[in-house]
Symmetry: C2
Subunit: 349 residues, 2 copies
Amino acid sequence: MKITIKSTALLVATVVVAASASLPASASYTSLQVKEIGSYYVGGKRISLTGLPDREMTYSPGSPPVKVNQNGEFVAGQMYVHYIRLEKPRADYPMLMWHGGGLTGANWESKPDRKPGWEMFFLKQGWDVYTSDAVERGRSSWARYPEIYQDAPFFRNEKEAWELFRIGKTYDPDPDKRVAQEGTQFPIESFGEFVKQSVPRWATNDELTQAAYDQYVEQACPCVIVVHSQGGNFAYKAAMKHPEKIKAMVMVEPSGSPDPEKTDFSVLKGVPMLWVWGDYTEASPFWNAIVARQEKVRAKLTALGGQADLLMLPQMGIKGNSHMLMMDKNSDQIAGLVNEWLIARGVTR
Amino acid sequence: MKITIKSTALLVATVVVAASASLPASASYTSLQVKEIGSYYVGGKRISLTGLPDREMTYSPGSPPVKVNQNGEFVAGQMYVHYIRLEKPRADYPMLMWHGGGLTGANWESKPDRKPGWEMFFLKQGWDVYTSDAVERGRSSWARYPEIYQDAPFFRNEKEAWELFRIGKTYDPDPDKRVAQEGTQFPIESFGEFVKQSVPRWATNDELTQAAYDQYVEQACPCVIVVHSQGGNFAYKAAMKHPEKIKAMVMVEPSGSPDPEKTDFSVLKGVPMLWVWGDYTEASPFWNAIVARQEKVRAKLTALGGQADLLMLPQMGIKGNSHMLMMDKNSDQIAGLVNEWLIARGVTR
């Protein structure tokens, strides 16, 4: 179904109708015709270390002990990229999915309740799908501190994941005593599985991470970027460096952006952009501030004649979504809205 | 092509002929019919931390600063599992690929020269393929030390990867001055890409790692295990705990095993086992000791009436393979031999 978007204001209603009419598209799905599944690394620089003492280790029980020289040449700042390329993609460009803070590309795969996530959804809609692990996280590895990274990492505890991600209001170590957001779509019985996806994060590596994302865009695009949370800021910067390579950008609850007061966003006015927000942001000063900042960017882009659209889900009657809306029970419904928008913006069929 | 194996001694020659006759099987490949691609976590236990001071951090530029409580509930010891399930697998069981030390499941995906690796090879041969990241590595995440893990991790330098993995004899920081093994099959021009796959490792987490592998076998098997290097010891132990669930085990340069002098391996005699070794082991005391230990296990299993087979590649005329033989230029040839053996042992067609 082809939709012509006449004005940004109309988008919300138009897309809702379109999505509900076309969501059963996945019913016609039989199996994926996959051409290639693989991975590679982008970015990274070689670093030499000297002056550290030797350590002794046994590689595995039964193998001879080895003196390990902690000095030498290492690589830091590389980023892992995983791709699934279809035999006959329906979309003209691959979709690059960038995760948020303290997580990895795994958050786009199956959901914590083991049901298919957004990766499978968009594969079924005919997209080549790329996922990646930001520098320092997951398969991208991390480097020793303070010799290479400046500082120690942060580890997210359950309470932060529960409250900051708007899964529940009041965390308690006892699952039976936790209070979930009223009407939450998050599969709270699988919260323990979700926290297994957490990886340590640093507050001092933005430059390395940005360099890897920039190189990734140079290699894998033209493309569409779907980005979540902390990834938002990296995606803005990468897109502003290579706007011609970004055919559309879907910002799923982006937590940061270049300063909306001081930044000239005009290079982005040819990039169709969509912001997607879940529920419960209004009751949170933290999230309220984040949404307000993004809305300033969106207003600036709209004033510039850009294509800056909004899916404020609760205002569309889609209630109960957490910050991790790609894991929520209605994740397919939201992905369907995103795909309809991509169709409407002419980047897929 | 069906091969009947009459004796272990005959295996080497028989398989060579079979493999060279049947390798073009992949020529008939068109595209993969994939049913589902996804991931999940196994294992892990909740841990409470107390007494650590707060830290302040900004999640991404532009978002408000947050006081981070370093205490609370965390999970440690979980393991990431990635799967690709075919619409119509030819094999009766999934193939679980377990990586070695200081690496992740990425080492089974594309090779450092970006050519398809063993994952694609076995998918094309009709296997559902599972890869995983051992506890503490990659998407399995890691936990803080010394509060949860006992000690600091080890970081592998380029020299160790070059020399220990028998890629070259003499490492030099200058790529032009490095001396590769004569006739090496490793794509040495991509050595810099290979080291990007390295992740930190601990010497103190074997128990956590084993517990996760055991749980993985309980959930994902019956299966075939293909295991590399440091993974060997974990695979022995998991298989000895659940021998009925392991339909075959392919030990690719396993670096460890339970003590061959003191261990009763009889529970494994019903599990077809294959050892695969690359080139240049004889010139290395380290690798000589490892091969000798594994050959003791194999001799014990053979004496028990087990199916304990050997692909000593250089003795079969296949020269130049490094420890990372799934990344070598002739990786498909070796995978082909492994698949022929699996056919001969009756676990696939």
